[in-house]
Amino acid sequence: MTNEDLKQKILTIVPSADFTDPVYEFLNVTILPADLRKLAEQLNSDPDLSFDYMFCLTGVDWVTHMMVVYHLYSTKNDHTVVMKVKIDDRGNPEVETLCDIWKTAEFHEREAYDLFGIKFLNHPDLRRIFLEDDWVGYPMRKDYVDEVNIVEL
């Protein structure tokens, strides 16, 4: 499907979807956490879309809000979409897990939790993945200060 078709299709699933992010290579769609499960399930199961391969999942700290970015690709239909979830509550971001749909999300969500503090609800095993269990703070946040381990030049 072309990006334009994709856009129409996604709009039928989530009417409030936001397509204002410029398209460099992939179609960007920004949604709210409440719509995430619905859209993700549809993206995965709808035969026209069938996004079966999540090749990237990451968090972004936009200082005003938190964002989770999912890069999805369909091996059957050869199209790509970037799904972004905007979480307004930056202090305590929460979003539904997608690791039952794309298994690869399990590790990537743990990474995002570890580094950004984004809580993925219903995740089967949400623990820190890289840092120690008693690490204080979430290093990839923009306001993270660590005078011991980070040397400012």
Binding site: D52, Y53, F55, C56, T75, K103, F107, L115, L131, M140
Partner: protein
């Protein structure tokens, strides 16, 4: 027998494989739940070599980011460098000279060859045939020598800069590469003789660690490991970059999805890499080795994503720029990280010895996973 087995009370136990273990090849820690020798569960514990490269990137200029990527997948460092450079060039909408594209492709393929050679040696060693390790290193030495001559370094090469290459290739480069190809074409069948046809080796790998195509896609397994399950995911074919669109090579696909298929996929990939180098080595176009770039690179605001095919799978570089001289956010989607997540799925029900074989055929590089 069955009845007796049921009546005996057994207990599952845990065992820590790593962080110091000969076959985790680095500081990976696996917590195994075992019933006798049979694996019930594998829980990877990561982070022993986590350096937060992504955080460091946020403080660095784009030229500096390239150098950090060497430290992720040190066996495919050239390809990591290239990934970052391609992303930055994409952001700058910079067209690099043809010469650069061809040289990058040749060096990428040499890197892939050297990585697979090391993998082959290590794979044999994991299965108990220590001789393969020395054979793999013997042939890899020739490639590292070529790299050393051209860019001064043997492991962390830093040969790419945004816009092109750091310097031109050494005048000897083409000759030595051709010599190497001639040498290695004779040696690769020897690899086959030593392992591929060996009864013990096939017994140890056939039917072990099965991964279906659906699972490979769902777990995000990429590279030769996924192509052995039939998941066609070669970025060089799907999204050609550098000079891959002008060379003729096959995407290696197998359907068995077991350790032996993953092994064969990598061996076949070595032949394809040699084919690619052969097509390009005599056709390096004349021209500049670097496009003109500013000393301070500022990417226009936006998001750039570039995928490349490393020896282990698909490396994604995701750069978010806010028009400053350093990136706002850099994410490396490392292939090893996703490949590792399928380990539990693949290893359940097999034995400890099989787990070693499965890990070998996944070709894990720990700094690449931990970043």
């Amino acid at each position: 027998m069955e009845e007796v087995a049921q009546n005996i009370e057994t207990q599952e136990y845990f065992i820590n494989m790593g962080p110091q273990h000969p076959s985790t090849h680095g500081v990976l820690r696996l917590m195994l739940t075992l019933d006798g020798e049979i694996i019930k569960k594998v829980q990877p514990h990561l982070g022993y070599i986590h350096r937060s490269i992504e955080k460091m990137c946020e403080k660095d200029s784009y030229q500096q980011v390239v150098h950090l990527t060497d430290r992720m997948d040190y066996l495919g460092c050239h390809i990591n460098n290239e990934a970052v450079c391609l992303t930055v060039e994409k952001g700058l909408e910079l067209e690099v000279p043809d010469r650069v594209k061809v040289i990058r492709t040749i060096i990428s393929e040499l890197t892939r060859l050297s990585s697979h050679q090391l993998w082959w040696g290590v794979m044999g060693m994991d299965l108990g045939a220590i001789t393969t390790f020395l054979y793999g290193f013997r042939d890899r030495e020739m490639i590292t020598d070529i790299f050393e001559e051209t860019c001064g370094a043997r492991l962390t090469m830093n040969y790419n800069v945004p816009g092109g290459l750091m310097f031109d290739i050494h005048p000897n480069f083409q000759n030595r590469t051709k010599q190497f190809l001639e040498h290695f074409k004779k040696k690769l069948p020897e690899y086959d003789k030593l392992l591929t046809g060996n009864v013990i080796f096939t017994e140890r790998t056939k039917g072990i660690g099965y991964l279906s195509k659906e699972d490979a896609i769902s777990y995000g397994v990429t590279g030769p490991s996924a192509r052995a399950s039939g998941f066609s995911c070669d970025v060089r074919k799907k999204n050609p970059y550098s000079a891959y669109d002008r060379v003729d090579f096959k995407e290696i696909l197998f359907t068995e999805g077991d350790c032996f298929a993953r092994y064969q996929a990598r061996i076949a990939e070595m032949w394809e890499s040699m084919k690619i180098i052969e097509q390009l080595i005599d056709n390096i176009p004349e021209g500049e080795y670097k496009a003109k770039t500013k000393a301070v690179i500022k990417l226009p605001p936006g998001e750039y994503y570039q995928r490349v095919e490393t020896p282990r799978g698909e490396l994604g570089v995701y750069i978010i720029s806010d028009n400053k001289k350093n990136p706002y956010r850099v994410k490396f989607r490392s292939p090893g990280f996703s490949n590792l997540s399928a380990l539990d799925k693949m290893a359940r029900g097999f034995k400890i010895a099989d787990l070693v074989a499965i890990m070998s055929t996944l070709d894990l590089v720990i700094p690449d996973i931990d970043r």
